[in-house]
């Protein structure tokens, strides 16, 4: 703890049991430093999609937290993730967004590394290192654990973090509805939107985990100008096959899932209709592929063409919208968004292009919906400059005590979509990570929270039965 932050202080910041959060979790530089170590230093973090580096020597530059990382395809087809830092004086050795190369050469003194990270060449080696250079030990630092889940590549620095599948838990079931809809899996379409938002990364991660609640109000203008009238094709802005109204106005039931930091929310619709801001051509594609997806994933997920998700800590996506993004932390009050279009590899080219336009129009930096999200988060961050504002505990009580396991096959701890079960779970997991040095202790603390949560819910049910 560096003697700076006490464990009990962190514990008190997240009173998930009573639905109260201290806003300093979004502002404190010491907590941020601890996040880099204990969240980004040991969680499984999304690196890239396999389709972005198909050939030997292909590389893709990204970040794990604030650490620059080169993801490279090896000669044997495997994937390595390397810290983009010359071992000599800490320069980055690779600067293009992506590309194909045989070597990564540091621009400072010319140390040159192979695509596997091994140090190949030191200029003037014999003169500069008269006693010999220990080149075999001076390669780029390698991320020790790299694993793929259905085309998505993840990296992890810590050895006691559970295996990727274990770490994902039930969020994998929700993710499949995005990336495993059709034979061949998924593919990234086009380039990456990168932009900076002056807000803490957790606002974005939490919203995608837990917050369907904001959509009807924050996105009211988008609904007004892109939505249509039911049974009136002429009123639809995005083609006659567009779903006329937002799913939150029409669906009969819904679900929010939240556990181990992950979260997801969606509506159970009668038909495979994508949400209203998906254009008609793409909406029709989803209708046409419904049977195939149903065969693979079952009815619930084949019908699921809307809603939000976060795999803790920073990977988020929106079903049907074909947008996925990572929220790179950039200090307590800054986030860099990297958003891209991802969809079925088996989709025809013209549909892929339409999906890319779709994702850009609604959820790019100029997106009809996205623009208003970023605006909310920066305004919150500004208010939290205030001393009193930072002392004012935020209300996170929605649906408190109504958590339950469902019996219809939708996995994990769930609630109504307009609840904050996933947010409370995310912050509790976050606090547990910060408080505990060993992953087994994090896991124990998470389990204790979940048991207490479900006990409380069961008690409430009993009371209601008695009434």
């Amino acid at each position: 703890m560096n003697g700076k932050i006490e464990v009990c202080e962190i514990d008190a910041l997240v009173d998930a049991q009573n639905g109260r959060i201290s806003p300093t979790i979004y502002t404190d530089p010491q907590l941020y430093e601890l996040e880099l170590e204990r969240v980004f230093g040991r969680c499984w973090l999304f690196l890239c999609h396999e389709s972005q580096i198909p050939k030997s020597g292909d590389f893709f530059n990204t970040y794990m937290g604030e650490d620059p990382i080169i993801v490279t395809r090896q000669k044997d087809g495997s994937i390595k993730a390397l810290l983009n830092q010359c071992r000599h004086r800490s320069m980055r050795v690779s600067y293009a967004d992506c590309g194909n190369t045989r070597a990564f050469t540091c621009p400072y003194h010319g140390w040159s590394y192979g695509i596997d990270g091994s140090l190949k060449d030191i200029p003037l080696e014999g003169i500069a290192f008269p006693h010999g250079a220990c080149k075999e030990q001076w390669g780029l630092q390698e991320v020790p654990r790299v694993a793929s889940y259905k085309g998505l590549v993840f990296g992890c620095w810590a050895d006691d973090t559970p295996e990727l599948l274990d770490y994902m838990g039930d969020i994998a079931w929700y993710l499949d509805a995005m990336i495993d809809r059709r034979e061949g899996g998924s593919e990234v379409i086009g380039g990456i939107h990168k932009w900076e938002i002056n807000c803490n990364w957790k606002f974005a991660a939490e919203q995608f985990a837990s917050d369907q609640y904001h959509a009807p109000y924050s996105h009211a203008s988008a609904v007004q100008v892109l939505g249509g009238k039911p049974n009136d094709d002429a009123s639809k802005a995005l083609g006659t096959a567009q779903t006329a109204r937002p799913v939150w106005e029409t669906a009969e039931s819904c679900v929010q899932y939240g556990q181990r930091g992950h979260g997801s929310g969606f509506f159970l619709t009668e038909k495979p209709d994508a949400n209203f801001w998906v254009d008609g051509q793409v909406a029709d594609y989803f209708r046409e592929t419904y049977e195939e997806t149903k065969e693979r994933l079952g009815d619930t997920r084949a019908l699921r063409l809307a809603g939000h998700n976060t795999m803790f800590p920073t990977l988020s996506w929106l079903n049907g919208m074909t947008t996925m993004r990572i929220w790179h932390p950039r200090g307590p009050d800054k986030t860099e968004v990297w958003a891209f279009c991802i969809t079925d590899k088996a989709a025809p080219q013209h549909i892929k292009e339409a999906m890319e336009l779709n994702a850009c129009r609604a959820f790019g930096p100029a997106g009809f919906a996205e623009a208003d999200d970023g605006e909310n988060w920066i305004e919150i961050q500004k208010v939290l400059r205030g001393y009193k504002a930072r002392k004012s505990k935020l209300i996170m009580e929605m649906g408190l005590g109504n958590e339950k396991y469902r019996e219809d096959g939708i996995p994990g701890i769930t609630n109504h979509v307009f609840s904050e079960t996933a947010a409370r779970g995310m912050y509790r997991h976050w606090a547990n990570l910060l408080m505990h040095e060993k992953w087994e202790d994090v896991q124990r603390a998470d389990e204790a929270y979940e048991q207490e949560l479900l006990k409380k819910a069961a008690k409430k049910d009993e009371k209601e039965l008695v009434k």
Binding site: P54, N100, W195, C341, E375
Partner: protein, 186 residues
């Protein structure tokens, strides 16, 4: 995965263009900028042709050896709008609930380096310009966008300003946007 693109930086072509024509088109672009800065978005829509394509793609960092081969990291759309979508963007601003522009940003378009090239069509010109777009938002948020525009400008007597914009291809000179959103027109 890098993509092959036709040409990253097309060579400018020098052809003499009349002073009066250059002056007319420059005045048109300044008037257009004034409409945007005065929030007269409906009037601005009126000077866009029905078939306008309004585009802005992301820019990327590519290695020189790849650029020589016209290979670059893939990019994607920030704007890819026809007139209908542009009109919907204006309609969104008009709802009073477009929170990213509520209250609206103050903008100032500085348009420079205007260069006019004739096209195969007698009444159409390809017009290159650079912009500095200053955006001041809410109390004191300031965002600055710098880049270029390649327009197709068409002589059109039905336009109150004598011309219409038939195509605008915008470049914004930032790979990672230092902007929490893009809600202004370039």
């Amino acid at each position: 995965m890098n993509q092959i693109i036709d040409s990253l930086k097309p060579q400018p072509v020098w052809r003499s263009i009349g002073l009066e024509l250059h002056h007319d088109i420059s005045q048109f672009l300044y008037a257009e900028a004034q409409l945007l800065d005065d929030w007269k978005f409906r009037d601005w829509l009126d000077i866009l042709s029905k078939d306008i394509l309004y585009t802005l793609k992301t820019t990327t960092n590519a290695q020189t050896r790849d650029r020589r081969k016209c290979i670059a990291p893939p990019s994607t759309w920030i704007y890819h709008d026809d007139k209908f979508v542009l009109e919907r963007r204006v309609a969104k601003l008009e709802t009073g609930m477009s929170w990213s522009e509520e209250p609206p940003s103050r903008t100032r378009h500085l348009i420079t380096n205007i260069r006019v090239e004739a096209t195969a069509q007698a009444n159409e010109y390809q017009v290159f310009s650079n912009y500095l777009l200053y955006r001041s938002q809410k109390e004191k948020d300031v965002l600055t966008y710098v880049g270029k525009r390649v327009d197709l400008i068409r002589k059109d007597d039905s336009s109150s300003l004598g011309w219409k914009i038939a195509k605008r291809d915008i470049t914004l000179d930032q790979a990672t946007l230092i902007s929490h959103n893009i809600t202004v027109f370039f």
